[in-house]
Structure formats: C-alpha cells, structure tokens
C-alpha cells in the first residue's frame, strides 16, 4: 500500500460528513451475492410475519391452538364498526403519539441548539443528556415510578415542602397516569431527537453564520434562514421515525400500567396494548392479527401522505 494512498485516506477523514459522493457502481454478480444474505434474512424474518398476519386476520383462531376458521372480513368489520374500545384505543394512541412527538421535538431541538454552542463542560453535558435514552426502558420506568410513588414519592414531597400544594395529585392514579406516562416517555426518548439534530448541526459550515451576521441577521433570523433549512432533511426523518415508534410503543406503556386490562390499564390502553390483550388475554389471535394489520396500514397510509407532501428533494429515501 503506497504512502500517498494512506495520506489521501487521512485527508478524506477531514471531509465534512455530509459530502455526498456519487458512486460509480459496476455491474457485477458479486454485488448480488453480497447483498443476498441480508435481503433473504429480512424477507424471511419480516415478510413472512406480514403475510402470516394478513392471513391470520381473516381467521378466527385461539392463540394457543392450531386450528383456524375462515371468517372473511369479520374481524375488521367488528373493530371498525362496532367496537368502542378499538376507537378509544385509537384516539388515545393518537393523542399519546402526537403529544410525545411534539414535546420530544421541542426539547430535543432546543437541547441540540444549546449543546452546539461553546461553553465549559459542553462534552460532559452532551454525554449526560444522552443517559435517558441509553438506560433500559424498564429502568427508566422503575425510577420514575419511584419518583411519582403515591405514598413515598419525592415528586409529591417537593410539591408539599415548597408550598405548592397541600394535597399532591396521585400521579399513578386514574386522573394522572396518562400524563405521567407522557412525561416519562418524553424524558426517555427526547435524546434521540437531540443526538440526530446535534450531529447535523455540527456539519453546518460556520461561514454561513458569519455571512448572516455581517448582513445583520439576528439570532431568530439566523435560526430561520440558516439552521432550519440545514436541519430540514434530518427533521423529516426524525419526525417520521419518532411518530411511527411512538404510535407503536409497547414496553414503556405496558410497564406504566398497560399490563392490566381494566382498572388503571384502561387509562393508558393505546392500540398496541389493546392488541396484546386481545391476543394473550382473550386468546383471540385472529382478532389480534387484524388489529396489528390495521395499525400497519394506518402507518403505511400516513407515511405515504407524509412523503407526498413533506418530502424534501435532497432526501434520498
């Protein structure tokens, strides 16, 4: 290996990460052979379940038994036309997804802008700000359940001792459990937005801001005219992924109370909870599959329109 090559690869590392290099690909069978294992794995692991679920959605089947009876569109018709619980779950899930995504975006972008500025201890704060996303979700649920504990929680203690209220709310009771769930979800997932936006902010050439300053642009003007257009592509993807993931969120909701079907569980019963209870609580695998399919189609539909109306030209998806 020649020295010049080493030097040029070192020089390459100095390029901005977003330099898009047009690849001149060659026609070759070897390429197909290399990509085949990944594609076959994905088809086997993802396409099979989708096809199976579609098939199962047309059947009535006990979750633990082998026999399935064809019922046509009955499962779908039942949920859409005559099941109130389905619609309650749908709307609750929609509220959950929208509120948490908006809150994550606001906090994540604000924190990214902050951590892109220069100050002492910036690297430490950057590390710390990613903690919530990196600890297991089980753990963040446990910590917050302890903080919000109805009897011994530090949250209530602070409210009382600072004289804010004498009768602190029951955070994990019927009135508040949905809203504390949202608070915990935002705490856990906002670093995803932060890290994505921050990574992009770091690649914006400083000259752009210098030029704007010379032109007399204020902080708000610089944000709107330089920062926002630069992070638009990332925002597009981040909003898409976070919305999909929040709409299908299972674990955090399950552990925050969703595991009981009635009682408190009712207040956090979003679609994935409802699906789970239909399958493993009522053993209606066919109905559960129909619910899962409905969710999948809602997402495909929403993603289609999202791409159609908001896609940026530079997005290479």
């Amino acid at each position: 290996m020649s020295m010049s090559l080493r030097a040029s690869s070192r020089a390459l590392a100095a390029w901005p990460a977003d330099v898009v290099v047009r690849v001149r690909a060659s026609k070759d069978l070897a390429g197909v052979i290399l990509v085949a294992p990944a594609i076959l794995t994905l088809v086997a692991l993802l396409a099979y379940p989708v096809v199976y679920n579609l098939w199962l959605g047309f059947h009535q089947k006990h979750a633990l038994q082998q026999t399935a009876t064809w019922v046509g569109l009955q499962n779908y018709a039942f949920f859409v036309f005559s099941d109130r619980q389905f619609w309650d779950s749908f709307w609750l899930g929609l509220v959950y997804a929208i509120v948490t995504v908006v809150a994550q975006l606001v906090m994540g972008v604000a924190a990214a802008l902050l951590l892109n500025e220069d100050f002492k201890g910036r690297l430490i704060v950057r590390g710390i700000a990613l903690f919530p996303y990196m600890i297991p979700i089980t753990l963040s649920v446990i910590i917050w359940r302890w903080i919000f504990n109805n009897q011994y929680g530090i949250a209530n203690y602070m409210l009382v001792s600072w004289g804010i209220t004498d009768k602190p709310p029951i955070w994990l009771g019927p009135d508040w459990i949905f809203w504390t769930l949202i608070a915990v979800s935002v705490w856990t997932f906002f670093p995803f937005v932060l890290i994505s936006i921050l990574a992009r902010l770091q690649t914006i050439p400083p000259e752009l801001y210098d030029a704007a300053k010379v032109d007399g642009a204020g902080a708000v003007g610089r944000f709107l005219n330089i920062t926002l257009p630069q992070i638009k592509t990332v925002l597009f993807i981040v909003i898409l992924l976070r919305s999909v993931w929040m709409f299908t969120k299972f674990d955090i909701v399950w552990m925050w109370g969703g595991q009981s079907y009635g009682g408190l569980g009712e207040h956090v019963r979003i679609l994935p909870m409802y699906t789970y209870h239909r399958i493993f609580g009522l053993f209606q695998a066919g109905e559960g599959a129909a619910l899962a399919n409905i969710m999948f189609f809602i997402l495909l539909f929403a993603a289609y329109f999202y791409f159609k109306y908001f896609r940026q030209e530079e997005t290479s998806v």
Binding site: S8, S9, A14, L34, L45, P136, I143, V244, M255
Partner: protein, 305 residues
C-alpha cells in the same frame, strides 16, 4: 472524555467564544453577551438536572436501609448508608444470570446484524444491479413494522420449532429488529467513502480484497463501531420479545428480570434501585467512552437517510 478525539468532521461550535471578537466592545453589546452567557449556562444546568437527577435519586435510594426508603417525609441523603440492598440483590435474584443472557443475545445479534449489514452496504454502494434503488424503500419498510405485528408469527413459529426459552430464538428476533436499521446506517457510511480511493488502490496493483482490507475497512471502521453500538442498545434494552419468548427465569434478560422485581408482591424499592445501579454502571462507562462515535454515527445516518 473521549470527545476530544473528535474527528475534524465534527466542526467546532457555530458561535465563537465572545473573547475571540476583534472589534471594540460597546456597553450594550457586552450586556447582551453577558445575557447570552447566563442563558447558556442556566440552560446547560437545567438540562443536566433534568437528565441526571432521576439517576442520582436511584443511586441514593440504593444505598438506603429499608426504613429510610419507605418513609414520609422522604430522607434525602441516607443517614446510615448500607450495602444491604446489593447483598440481597445478589443473594435473592438471578441478576447475574439475567446479565449473562442479555450479553449473549445482544452480542450475538449485533455481530450477525453487522456482518450481514456490512456486506449489504458494500454491495449497495459498489455494485450496480436490477432493483438496487428499490431496496432503500424496502429497508425503510422495515421501520414501519409495529413490533406487535411480528409478535404473533414469531411466537407461533418459535413455539412450533422449539425456539422459545432458547438463545437462538431471541437472537434471530433481534437480528430482525436490528438489521434494517444497521443496514441503513452502514449504507450511509459507505456512501461517504469515495470510490476513487478504492480505484487508486487497484491502480497501485491491489486486488479488490486488499483494497477492502487496507482502504475501505479503516475508513468504514468508525461507522461500523457506531452502528454496532446502536444495534447492541436495541437488543440490550428490548423488552417485549424477551417477555414473550423467554418464559423461564434462568433464560430471562435484564429488562424482563428487572420488571419482575417490580412486580413482586412486596416491592422492595431499595433492592430494585440496587439492580438499577448494577445495570447502569457498566453501561454508562461504556457509553461515555463511545459517546463520540454515537453522535457521529447518528449524524451520518440521519443526514443521508
């Protein structure tokens, strides 16, 4: 912090330090700069507080004897710090077994995902064949699956072929969850490695394999590491499939084992928090060491994606 090793690709911050300005400072401007500094540091303080205080509270609770945990008003700092919770944790729970299960499944699935993903990413950026461009959409589709869509088929399927309560079953599941994501990120990384470098190596007489080992691999390494970390975290934190597929205690992973501690009839918060500390410490250490890769890796994926 490792962050100092930041590559030149992560350009320094946008606003230069106030002192760096050459022009004479007017009083109004100085006031605004002080205001900016106050805003900056109070923002940084609030963010730190928000992210770190819950964890600090976990550490503190883990060191308290039971009578200081279950008490009102809460005792903020432990009066008689004790390791009782940790002792009970190791004696009464299978925490070390859970830890081993989590490590095995997360590690194996990461290696598999990265192997398949790297081959695919190299192929997608270096060869041309029918349908190549459609694969981007196909892989994105992998993102759209609600995990709950996968759960019935996986459960039925694995039950039938005896892969429940089995490492292999969970590893396969985590490859299904991690591979689309890993391929996506790696693809973005490989796109940023110019073809010219490889061609230069060929002209110098290197074979394709040599060019990959000496040119492509060193350049792709940061991306591969970043992707590995993310793939690992997905598996390490996963709850739903581990809950469904691993039914007996000796096969459970950390997230499920931890949740079981919470669901015991008499919740012992001290022991649970001690478990939290045991899980968090190695993860945090690892994470602080790799933080720089995380931010860079995410950037590449997000920018291209």
């Amino acid at each position: 912090m490792i962050g100092h090793a930041a590559s030149p690709a992560t350009t320094p911050s946008v606003t230069a330090a106030p002192g760096a300005r050459r022009h004479a400072v007017q009083p109004g401007v100085r006031l605004r700069r002080i205001g900016y500094q106050v805003l900056l540091y109070s923002g940084a303080f609030l963010l730190t507080f928000y992210c770190v205080v819950p964890l600090v509270w976990m550490f503190i609770t883990a060191l308290k004897p039971p009578n200081e945990v279950i008490t009102w008003p809460p005792v903020v700092l432990p009066k008689e710090p004790t390791l009782r919770n940790f002792r009970l944790l190791f004696e009464e729970s299978l925490i070390l077994t859970f830890l081993r299960n989590s490590l095995v499944t997360a590690f194996a699935s990461t290696v598999l995902s990265i192997l398949l993903g790297t081959l695919a990413a190299y192929s997608l950026t270096r060869y041309n064949y029918w349908g190549r461009d459609k694969l981007a959409t196909f892989i994105l589709l992998g993102y759209m699956f609600p995990p709950i869509v996968l759960i019935i088929p996986f459960f039925v399927w694995f039950k039938a072929i005896g892969l429940t309560d089995n490492y292999l079953g969970l590893i396969i599941t985590y490859v299904a969850l991690g591979l689309p994501f890993a391929t996506w990120l790696l693809w973005a990384f490989f796109q940023s490695i110019p073809m010219e470098l490889e061609e230069a190596a060929w002209i110098d007489g290197a074979t394709r394999a040599q060019a990959i080992v000496h040119v492509i691999f060193p350049l792709a390494l940061p991306g591969v590491i970043a992707t590995s970390i993310f793939t690992f975290i997905v598996a390490w934190n996963e709850y739903l499939f581990a809950l469904i597929l691993m039914n007996t205690d000796p096969m459970k992973t950390l997230p499920v084992g931890l949740a079981d501690l919470l669901n015991r009839p008499m919740t012992d918060w001290g022991v649970i928090m001690a478990a939290g500390v045991v899980i968090t410490l190695p993860a945090l250490l690892f994470f602080i060491l790799t933080q720089n890769y995380l931010i860079k890796g995410w950037g590449a994926g997000a920018v291209k994606g």
